[in-house]
C-alpha cells in the first residue's frame, strides 16, 4: 500500500483540491528550514556561510509561497518565487563581491574581524 503511494510522484493532479492539512505540513517544513537558516546566520562566523544561510531562508520562503499557491490553485506563488530567485541571484553577486573585497583586506572571513564597524 505504501509502495503504491510512493510510486505516484506528483502530489495530485493539479486542479484537484489539496486539503489544508497537507498545506500545513509544507508550512511546518518551511518553518523548520527557515529556523535552521536563522540559527546558522546567527551562530556561524564565516561570512560566506552566513550568506549561504540567507539562501536557506529564501528557500524556505519559496516553499511556503509555492505551497500556498498549490492550495489556492493558482500560479501566483510560483511567479513570486521567480522574483525571489532573481533577488537571490542579485544578492549572491553583490554580497560575494563584497566578501571577496573584505577578505582581501583582512585575509580572514571572520565576521567578528569587522566588529569595529559597529556604530
Amino acid at each position: 500500500m505504501i509502495g503504491a503511494t510512493i510510486g505516484t510522484l506528483a502530489q495530485t493532479d493539479f486542479p484537484l483540491v489539496a486539503p489544508a492539512s497537507v498545506l500545513m505540513h509544507y508550512l511546518v517544513l518551511s518553518a523548520i528550514i527557515f529556523g535552521i537558516g536563522l540559527i546558522g546566520f546567527v551562530s556561524r562566523r564565516n561570512l560566506i556561510i552566513m550568506f549561504l544561510c540567507t539562501e536557506l531562508m529564501f528557500q524556505a520562503a519559496g516553499l511556503a509561497l509555492i505551497a500556498f499557491g498549490r492550495y489556492h490553485l493558482n500560479h501566483t506563488g510560483e511567479t513570486f518565487v521567480i522574483f525571489v530567485l532573481t533577488i537571490a541571484a542579485a544578492e549572491a553577486a553583490l554580497a560575494l563581491a563584497l566578501v571577496v573585497l573584505l577578505f582581501r583586506r583582512k585575509e580572514s572571513l571572520d565576521a567578528s574581524a569587522w566588529s569595529e564597524l559597529k556604530g
Partner: protein, 378 residues
C-alpha cells in the same frame, strides 16, 4: 485526545531539535555531529508527528492521493522533507565551507522534489538550473578564492572561525523558539483558512485555439481537413466552461461539436503554460523590474570588484614579518604564513596592481603609488 498530545509533541520536538542543532554546531572540544544530527532529525520527526496526528484523524477527503488516503501528504513528502532538514543542518554545522555549499546543493535538490510534489514543475527545474547550476557555482568560486593558503603549523586544518560557532546554544534556542512560535500559530490558524476558489485556470484555453487544435489532433479527434470552427464574430468556438469545442472541415460543412467527455487528457493548462501566462500577460511589469534589479546587481558587482583594496595594516605587518615567526597572530585565523606563498596563492597583490592601472580617473596614480601597490603584492 490529539488536542492535548499535539502541542506537547510540538514543543518536545522543538526542544529535541534545539538540543540536536546545538550539539551539531561546530564548537570547542568534543563535537559529536552524528549524535546532533540524529537528535535534530528526531526533533523534526516529532514536529511532523504533531502535525500529522490531527490530520490523520480527518475524514477521508478523496483527493490528494495522500499517504493512506487521509489528509496527509504523499509519502515522498516525508522523504524529501527529511533529506532537506538533515542537509540544511549539515550546511550550518559543517566546518568546511565547500562541504556546506555541497550540502546546500542537496537541500536544493530535495526542495525541487518538494516543488514537483506541489505540481510546480517549472519552478523545480528552474530552481535546479539557477541555484545548483549558477548561484552555487559562484559560491564555490568565492569559497576557493577566499580561502587561506595552508600554513606549515596549521597544516590542512580549517581556520578558527570555521571550527567554533558563535554562541551555538543561544542561537539554537532562538531558532527553535521561532519555529515553535510559527508552528503553534500555523496550527491555530489552520481552521481559519479560506477554502480555495474553484479552479479557473483552464479557461485560458478559450484564447488558445491553436493549442486546443494541436491537442485534439494529437488525440486523433480531428479529421485531417478539420480545424477549430469560428463563430460569426470571428471568435474560435471554444467553450471550456460549457464543455464544447466546435470543429469544422474546410468549405461550408456543418460544425461538429466535441463534448467534454471526449477531450484528451492534454486539454488542461500545463504548469509551464500557467506560469508563463501569469508572468507575461498578467504581471508583465514584474519581468521589467527583475531585469532592472539584475542589471543593477551586475553593475554593482563590476564596480565593487574593480575597487582598489586598502590592505589592513595588521595584515600588511603580518605579511612583512612573516619570516620572523610569532609577529602577529592578532587577526583571528590569519595565516601568518610565508608572505610570498599566500600572496601568490590568491594573486591578490597582482590583481590590485592591475585593476588600479586600468583605472584612468584616479588622479593619485604615480610611480610612488605603483611602488606602494607592489609592496602590497608582497
Amino acid at each position: 485526545m490529539s488536542e492535548l498530545i499535539s502541542p506537547l509533541l510540538l514543543y518536545l520536538g522543538c526542544v529535541v531539535g534545539a538540543v540536536g542543532v546545538a550539539v551539531a554546531l561546530p564548537r570547542k572540544g568534543a563535537n559529536p555531529q552524528v549524535l546532533g544530527l540524529i537528535a535534530a532529525a528526531a526533533g523534526a520527526g516529532l514536529l511532523f508527528l504533531a502535525v500529522s496526528l490531527p490530520a490523520a484523524e480527518l475524514p477521508e477527503r478523496g483527493v490528494g492521493g495522500g499517504l493512506l488516503g487521509h489528509g496527509l501528504p504523499n509519502a515522498n513528502f516525508y522523504i524529501f522533507g527529511l533529506i532537506a532538514v538533515l542537509a540544511s543542518i549539515k550546511v550550518i554545522s559543517h566546518s568546511r565551507p565547500v562541504y556546506s555549499a555541497l550540502y546546500f546543493v542537496l537541500t536544493i535538490l530535495s526542495m525541487a522534489g518538494l516543488f514537483v510534489l506541489l505540481s510546480a514543475e517549472f519552478m523545480a527545474f528552474a530552481l535546479i538550473i539557477i541555484y545548483a547550476g549558477a548561484i552555487l557555482i559562484t559560491y564555490l568560486f568565492v569559497i576557493m578564492l577566499a580561502s587561506q593558503a595552508p600554513t606549515a603549523e596549521e597544516g590542512d586544518e580549517a581556520p578558527l572561525y570555521d571550527k567554533y560557532a558563535r554562541e551555538p546554544i543561544a542561537a539554537s534556542v532562538l531558532g527553535f523558539v521561532l519555529i515553535a512560535g510559527l508552528t503553534t500559530m500555523l496550527a491555530g490558524g489552520a481552521g481559519g483558512l479560506p477554502a480555495p476558489r474553484p479552479y479557473t485556470g483552464d479557461l485560458l484555453l478559450n484564447e488558445l485555439p491553436r493549442r486546443v487544435e494541436t491537442s485534439l489532433r494529437d488525440a486523433d479527434l480531428l479529421e485531417s481537413d478539420e480545424t477549430i470552427a469560428l463563430t460569426p464574430e470571428g471568435e474560435p468556438m471554444i467553450d471550456i466552461a460549457g464543455g464544447m469545442i466546435g470543429v469544422r472541415a474546410k468549405g461550408a460543412s456543418p460544425v461538429r461539436m466535441i463534448p467534454v467527455g471526449d477531450w484528451p487528457a492534454s486539454m488542461h493548462v500545463t504548469n509551464v503554460e500557467g506560469v508563463g501566462f501569469e508572468l507575461l500577460r498578467d504581471k508583465p511589469g514584474m519581468i521589467e523590474i527583475a531585469g532592472v534589479i539584475l542589471l543593477m546587481a551586475m553593475l554593482g558587482a563590476v564596480v565593487l570588484s574593480r575597487k582598489r583594496v586598502e590592505i589592513d595594516e595588521r595584515v600588511r605587518a603580518a605579511r612583512a614579518g612573516a619570516t620572523s615567526p610569532g609577529n602577529d597572530p592578532t587577526v583571528a585565523g590569519s595565516p601568518g604564513g610565508p608572505g610570498e606563498g599566500s600572496a601568490e596563492a590568491f594573486g591578490a597583490g597582482e590583481w590590485v596592481e592591475r585593476s588600479g592601472a586600468k583605472k584612468p580617473i584616479r588622479p593619485e596614480r604615480g610611480p610612488a603609488h605603483e611602488h606602494d601597490a607592489g609592496e602590497d603584492a608582497r
